[in-house]
Amino acid sequence: MELVLASLTNGISFGMVLFLIASGLSIVMGLMGIVNLAHGALYMVGAYVGWTIAVQLKLNFWLGVFVGGIAGALAGLLIERAFIRRLYKQPNEQVLLTFGFVYILSNLIIWIWGGHRRLQFTAPALYGSMDVAGMPFAKDRLAIIGIGIIIAVILWWLQEKTRFGAIVRAGMDNKEMTTGLGINLELVFTIVFFLAAFIAGAAGVIGAQLLGAYSWLGTDILLWALIVVVVGGLGSVQGALLGGIAIGLIDTFGKALFPQLAMFTIYLAMIVILLAKPSGLLGRKA
């Protein structure tokens, strides 16, 4: 029972990290029609900056989350404004371009921080475990789940209940019509990209509680995020949340039940989804 519960918290907390990274990726894909392959690298930027703040400089962990988010957002903003913007309406080139930035950012990070692995870190208050209804839970896992829920609610509210969210959804459905209504879609692109990059950077620090930071983290987390988007469907916060938690749980329980299959359970999940519902569980039309 305790084992199941521990796996459950591990799975859901990992799923929340996946949700954070996949949500930005998915919204950018839905709105701008491009896959930002550098999204994982932005996550990695956040993780290392957060490490510097929280571990190296021994400052507040939450400050690390914020500054990591800002670092990711600035890197993302640079990529969007200076590069992607100039390849307007050439989706293939835009995607390839972001792939180039995976190399550039990862190598710059190794240059600055060195190649050795950074262990998991968290806020001092979140060490150890606490009892909930007589069962011990790891505090940092619970914190991740809490943050994930809060951000999911905020994003959902932004997407469904605000004017800005309505513009974004309209942009996903019909760009020409949205522009025709007098909306500066370019500006919306930039804001959404900035926001997605911020969440990715912050997710890097939040996820560092589980994963730490290492030199191939950028492509690793990107792969997870892409699978989450395939399973959940692109273009919505709900899809990313459902996909993230599903993949987090499938992976954790898969590893616990069939350790020799390791990564294959998630690929299996992806293939099943592709065969049964190619647009994902909660996807908008591609």
């Binding site: 894909m29 029609g33 491009i34 896959v35 392959l37 590069f83 100039r86 390849l87 989706p91 293939n92 080139e93 995607v95 390839l96 371009l97 792939f99 180039g100 930035f101 995976v102 190399y103 550039i104 990862s106 190598n107 710059l108 190794i110 240059w111 492509t219 792969l223 892409l226 699978i227 988007v229 395939v230 692109l234 390791a262 990564m263 294959f264 690929y267 992806m270 293939i271 592709l274 065969l275 190619p278 647009s279 591609a286």
Partner: protein, 337 residues
Amino acid sequence: MTTNKIIEAIRQPWQLQLIRFSPYIAGALILVMLPAVMPSYVQTVWTRFLVFALFASSYDLIYGHAGLLSLGHAAYFGAAGYAVAALILHYNVDSLWISLSLGILIAVLVSAGFGFLALRVSGMYFLLVTFAFGEALYAFTWNMPWLSTPGMQGIAGLPRPSLGIPGFSWNTLNFYYFILIIFLICFFLVYRIMNSPFGHALRGIREGESRMRALGYNTWLYKYIAFITTGAFAGVAGTLFIYYNRFISPTHVSVTTSFMPMIMVIIGGSGTLLGPVIGALVIVFTEYFASLFTPERWPLILGAVFVAAIMYARGGISIHLSRLWKRLNNRYGSIKS
């Protein structure tokens, strides 16, 4: 006077032919002559260039002609490589003919399987799915102890192929020529495929799939066959890579390796015959010089070159070269028909 004119009329097509093909002939001459007079470690770089030129040409079939942006191209390359390496490791079979057929077969099987699933979706999803499949194969090679020399990750210590000719031994130069022959055969095949009705149909699908469907083409089948064809050529490249590199690790299946043909095709010019070859030339030799000076900054240079190529030389080098060629031809190409 009249006889002269007749002679000229007869000669014209031949000369025109010569001029038309002169870049190819010059290229072939360079490939045959130049490495022979170079030190043997540079010959190895030339060999690497040919392997990657073939790999990039195979990628151009699917990206440049069919317009499908696949991110998992190393899967077929690496699958063929692993099949050949495992054959040597476990069964001690290093005959070229067996391993080449096996490499192609495995690559075709993998691409047929991946393609069947990946072509269910289109656009961005296609990209996601091919990426994920490539990484699935990467995880597979990583986790299968059968696919590793005991005590390490990957298969090392592989020999050069045996051709079954008694008294024959390999050196870097004759190995280079061996790769060159296979490369030229494949290059010719790619050329024929590109200029066949099939190739034209693929470009038609790239430009407007619904229009091609309206014309009665089974576009799914065309794309699927293109997917498998490209897998077969990538399989040849993967097999040759094993014999060149003599070591394979999961990296050679992963996205890092998939990235190589993509960048070569982009830099050289997609949808052209020579583009991938020129791209491979640029990248392999840049890699070589970078490895002499700053090996640890190579990914950074690669990424920067890639971004610069996409931003500022989008048509690829081959477009500029062919424009230059046309201009030279107009100015000095004395023969006006």
